[in-house]
Symmetry: C2
Subunit: 286 residues, 2 copies
Amino acid sequence: MQDRLDGVKAQVQAALDRAVGALPPGELQDAMAYACAGGKRIRAFLVMESARLHGVSDDAALPVAAAVEALHAYSLVHDDLPAMDDDDLRRGLPTVHVKWSQATAILAGDALQSLAFGLLADPAIGDAATRRLVAAFAQAVGGAGMVWGQALDIAAETAATPLTLDQITELQGGKTGALIRFAAIAGPLIADADPAPLAAYADAVGLAFQIADDILDVTGNEDVTGKRVGKDAQAGKATFVSLLGLDGARATAARLAADADAALAPYGEAAGNLRRLARFVIERDT
Amino acid sequence: MQDRLDGVKAQVQAALDRAVGALPPGELQDAMAYACAGGKRIRAFLVMESARLHGVSDDAALPVAAAVEALHAYSLVHDDLPAMDDDDLRRGLPTVHVKWSQATAILAGDALQSLAFGLLADPAIGDAATRRLVAAFAQAVGGAGMVWGQALDIAAETAATPLTLDQITELQGGKTGALIRFAAIAGPLIADADPAPLAAYADAVGLAFQIADDILDVTGNEDVTGKRVGKDAQAGKATFVSLLGLDGARATAARLAADADAALAPYGEAAGNLRRLARFVIERDT
């Protein structure tokens, strides 16, 4: 899997560099390029594997993988703003608003979202597939998806009572789950095939991913994760670890990884990389 | 023209209410609906008239008109933020970050951008037209369009020397011109026809619109415009009025209105509403 992940990383970075490089030079372009550099590229990998399983060419899948990563980059830039999670460190480097300004961070995030949707209009994807992707992407991102989950998360910070397990699961289903699900079903969306197995896989992996994040926030090393740790506990936020305990959270993540594995049954051996990804997600240290 | 404008206003408001109404209830949805209420709907009118001139049905044009207005609403919410233009009044009401919070304003703007792109995936538009619209919309909005123009505007506030006429014309071509151009060429984009005449019309109208805004900032009445006036002069910003004088700015706007009129020649009598709009844009008091 590591070879394939490294290959996807290089392809997606090149696609993002091309797209951002085509914009007028200046601070906005610099900030966009900065925000698009690095990252684990798990979402891009999901797109490329999902496409491969449905016989979709790399030419059609790559702009979608780049779109998902550009969108993810925008969400990080905005989530890091002082009015949101107020983070000064991301991937081991100063966040965009620290390096430039809040105005540049807001605008770079906005422009990355536009860029992401624009990538879905690549002619290699096909017109009908573009329409399906744009509709699903808007649903995954906006007021019923990622942004909605982030709004719930911000609201929870000032709520009188901590969230319940059901509430935090719903919140994370939007905040991190919606984009992971979109990435995982990109293949069937392009090929106009049944997205149900990969959607079930993604929902399990997405939740496992978030539980692993909460575990890392407690056990992680800032030098390794490249972002501040211990923030949630400091803020008194309900997390999967605070609700389930560390062992309970680990057990739940392992159970979800098994669910993800089972969901891939229709794909048999061909889904080996996605099976390995599900394990990687809960075993990662970054 | 007023009847048609009133009709478009009602249709577009209903389309936006439907789209926002389909989202999960809560503060984010409330803020999005608030940001989408009111406005002159000039951009929506451009879409509907441009579509009519190219034989595009209202069913296909309406989601595009709603998309343009949702996008415009997002840009106002983000531009009003303290880190940007820091406005507390918009359309005579408190801005979103004043009424709710900066976090909610950032998120509502983000979600309105997603919503706008999602509207372009309406099946009534047709798959190939959706692809063309998404590509052009991303170009008009992002790091080479509206957001790029806003970034130049923010940078100009702290620049050592005021902008020249060429620089301010280029800036406004992005900040307000790009979306107006997209709206005006929506018809030919959907119909796959030559967008050149309407693009020329839009470039003249867009610049005239901005010059009229600068004139209103000097001569306007806050009770009528519904937003703060005199801000640009206070901030020592270069504007068309500071560069051309009030009479010079008025003369330039009138010349641009005539250019807009001339650009519509290929459409003859059918473009009467667009001709009237060009005059309305420079004569408005709001």
